[in-house]
């Protein structure tokens, strides 16, 4: 191993332990854990509902099929429903507050009947004894789970969990050392400043990829274990996009930590910039991380059913480019930002007084 690689590896080794075990960065694990806990809840819910579908279907006085429920429409009376479907396996009656025209709150008695035909649960909502809504709740299909994960991955995981996680990990690499007044220990070693940057960045990247990639992998594994779903695909693609997100956001936040005494300012600016990305002109779109990431995601959320137009606009890039172009684009953005950081760190002067 040549001297440059040796010094980068030495910095990497020292930083890796610090990055994984930093008390200041424990909340990053919570960010990664949050969607896992959510999908765990989803799995439990699906298992309970699958069991419920079978149990409730056994309560039906006569065999029911989807067509029976399709015949139930808004405005039908409770008696008509009972005549058509028989008594519900479960019913809930509850009071609901509603603001009346004269600004007073009135309490209305509502009801929910739950039936099952064995393949789906049906919730029939009644208000003052009349049907307001029929909501079928079939068990999730592979397509549903795929779309659900893609939505959560693009809208929440990349934009918020990985974003804030990388903020915590990468800003801490230099700004944390300045806060602790310990950066001079690296600067007093016979290591080129750009090698210190490289070692620190790689350590941060390794930690971010392990934490967020690991969480994504567990989420995909968990979602693949829903009743009636045999394994969720695209694991490799999602892990790749997660790693690229860590690379892109990592490069940006490392630069922010080097350049700003209070990195909250660039963090807010970047969050807003990434959020308004779909509304930006084509050229400006390309100067962002989320633009390339959404292009690389294996499942397009906008194409899924039940997605609101505004939400679809947020999660999809309207001017599609090829995956290879997106990959190159992201790597170029990261490389440019890292090159700028390397230049900045070479000129960085130790000044702890302002922190």
């Amino acid at each position: 191993m040549n001297a440059s690689l040796q010094s980068i590896a030495a910095v990497f080794r020292l930083e890796l332990r610090k990055t994984f075990l930093a008390r200041r960065g424990l909340w990053v694990y919570l960010l990664a854990l949050a969607p896992f806990v959510l999908f765990l809840g989803y799995t439990v819910q699906n298992k309970v509902e699958a069991q419920q579908r079978q149990e409730l279907a056994a309560h039906n006085q006569k065999p029911l099929a989807a067509a029976d429920f399709a015949a139930i429409h808004r405005g039908m009376t409770e008696a008509e429903v009972l005549a058509r479907l028989g008594p519900p396996a479960r019913q809930f009656r509850f009071g609901r507050r509603r603001r009346a025209a004269n600004d007073t709150i009135e309490l209305r008695l509502d009801a929910r009947f739950r039936y099952s035909d064995g393949s789906a649960l049906y919730d029939i909502f009644l208000e003052d004894g009349k049907v307001m809504n029929v909501r079928p709740r079939p068990g999730p299909t592979l397509g549903d789970v795929n779309l659900l994960f893609a939505t959560v991955f693009q809208f929440f995981y990349l934009r918020l969990a990985v974003f804030f996680g990388c903020l915590g990990i990468f800003m801490n690499l230099f700004r944390g050392e300045l806060l602790d007044k310990s950066l001079h220990f690296y600067f007093l070693a016979p290591v080129r400043r750009s090698h210190i940057l490289a070692g620190k960045f790689l350590a941060g990247l390794a930690a971010a990829v392990v934490i967020f990639g690991g969480s994504a992998a567990v989420q995909i594994w968990l979602l693949g274990r829903q009743p009636g779903v045999s394994g969720l695909g695209h694991m490799g693609a999602y892990l790749g996009v997660t790693a690229l997100a860590c690379l892109g956001y990592g490069a940006v936040f490392l630069a922010a930590g080097l350049n700003f005494k209070n990195p909250i300012v660039p963090a807010v600016a970047l969050l807003l910039w990434e959020s308004v990305n779909p509304f930006l002109p084509a050229l400006l779109k390309k100067i962002s991380v989320i633009y390339y990431l959404t292009q690389l995601c294996p499942v397009s959320v906008a194409s899924g059913p039940g997605v609101s137009p505004l939400f679809a606009l947020l999660v999809a890039a309207p001017t599609a480019i090829s995956k290879s172009a997106a990959l190159v684009g992201l790597l170029v953005v990261a490389a440019v930002v890292l090159a700028y950081s390397a230049r900045r760190v070479r000129r960085l002067e130790i000044d702890y007084s302002a922190d």
């Binding site: 040796q6 010094s7 610090k18 602790d180 310990s182 220990f185 600067f187 007093l188 016979p190």
Partner: protein, 316 residues
């Protein structure tokens, strides 16, 4: 170590200005009160800050080339902070790992330097639990760990108790005697006399004098010099100096202070005074037991150069 017309400004605030220096091997002290530019000069020579103007090189290596510079230079800073949770030994071993040394070599070097600064018993305790003096010594150990040719030490005696202080001064002397360049800063001037081969005196960011302390003093020809005369009868000696025998010339004495067994004399022309004193002593007019300059220490020289007011509260 060479400074070629080096200036450093922090915005509009002057750090140091127009520094031309060549620091030879041996122990060199940077002397000056707080805020005079000592730490700025040290940070400049180790590349922690960059000069606004001018060039700095250490053993022919630019201060902006840490990869080569810190193989030859060790810097003991005043920053009193350490990586979280590190023990003294781990701190040094981690630092040495950045030099590309193998684990066994790192361990051996760390153990050796811990012993040298007297911290071997506390080596496996966390630095966060160290006393002020121990923290100072672990910083010193870090600067010494890779056996550098040039040592830059910012206020290295701060916080040390008298015994450790004496040991540390002996350590510096030893390092200087080995032919290394030891550059240390201090605002405790009497200490500087005891340690240094040469001094660099700073005031408000400017170098006001450099060289061996006695040489600097002798350059101050226009400033009166104080001489301590030792003898059994100082009052009689004072009378003889002020009222010479007929035929003897009158000495130009500016001030006289009579002490127990000694007389302090302040004169403008030291050379003429010593000649006249020789004649008086040879004639038996005064019983002289000893003569020594009383103000060619760093403190006096600094006070003469920058004035008592300029020396501020830091210079002692």
């Amino acid at each position: 170590m060479e400074f070629d017309n080096v200036s450093k400004f922090y915005g509009e605030v002057l750090g140091v200005n127009r520094i031309h220096l060549a620091i030879p091997p041996g122990i060199t002290s940077l002397v000056g009160p707080n805020g005079s530019g000592k730490t700025t000069l040290m940070n400049l020579m180790t590349g922690l800050i960059q000069p606004t103007r001018g060039r700095i090189s250490v053993l022919g290596i630019a201060a902006t080339d840490p990869e080569r510079l810190f193989r030859k230079v060790g810097y003991c800073t005043q920053f009193d902070s350490y990586p979280k949770g590190a023990t003294g030994r781990a701190f040094l071993e981690n630092y040495l790992s950045l030099f590309g040394e193998a684990r066994a070599e790192r361990r051996e070097r760390a153990a050796r330097v811990l012993e040298r600064v007297g911290l071997e018993a506390a080596a496996d305790r966390k630095i966060a639990g160290y006393s002020k003096g121990m923290r100072q010594r672990i910083r010193l150990a870090q600067a010494l760990a890779h056996d550098p040719q040039v040592l830059v030490l910012d206020e290295p005696l701060n916080g040390l108790d008298p015994l450790v202080r004496a040991d540390t001064i002996a350590l510096f002397r030893g390092l200087g005697a080995e032919g290394r360049a030891v550059i240390l800063s201090s605002h405790v001037l009497h200490e500087v006399d005891a340690i240094s081969d040469q001094v660099i005196m700073l005031s408000h960011g400017y170098v006001v004098a450099e060289g061996q302390i006695h040489g600097v003093r002798s350059e101050l020809r226009d400033h009166p010099i104080q001489i301590r005369l030792q003898g059994a009868r100082p009052r009689e000696m004072a009378a003889r100096l002020l009222q010479p025998e007929p035929g003897q010339e009158l000495l130009e004495v500016l001030e006289l202070a009579v002490g127990e067994h000694q007389l302090l004399v302040k004169v403008r022309d030291a050379h003429a005074f010593y000649l006249a004193l020789n004649r008086l002593a040879a004639s038996g007019a005064i019983a002289l037991e000893g003569v020594a300059p009383a103000d060619d220490d760093a403190g006096s020289v600094y006070a003469y150069l920058v004035g008592a007011g300029a020396s501020g509260g830091g210079a002692q």
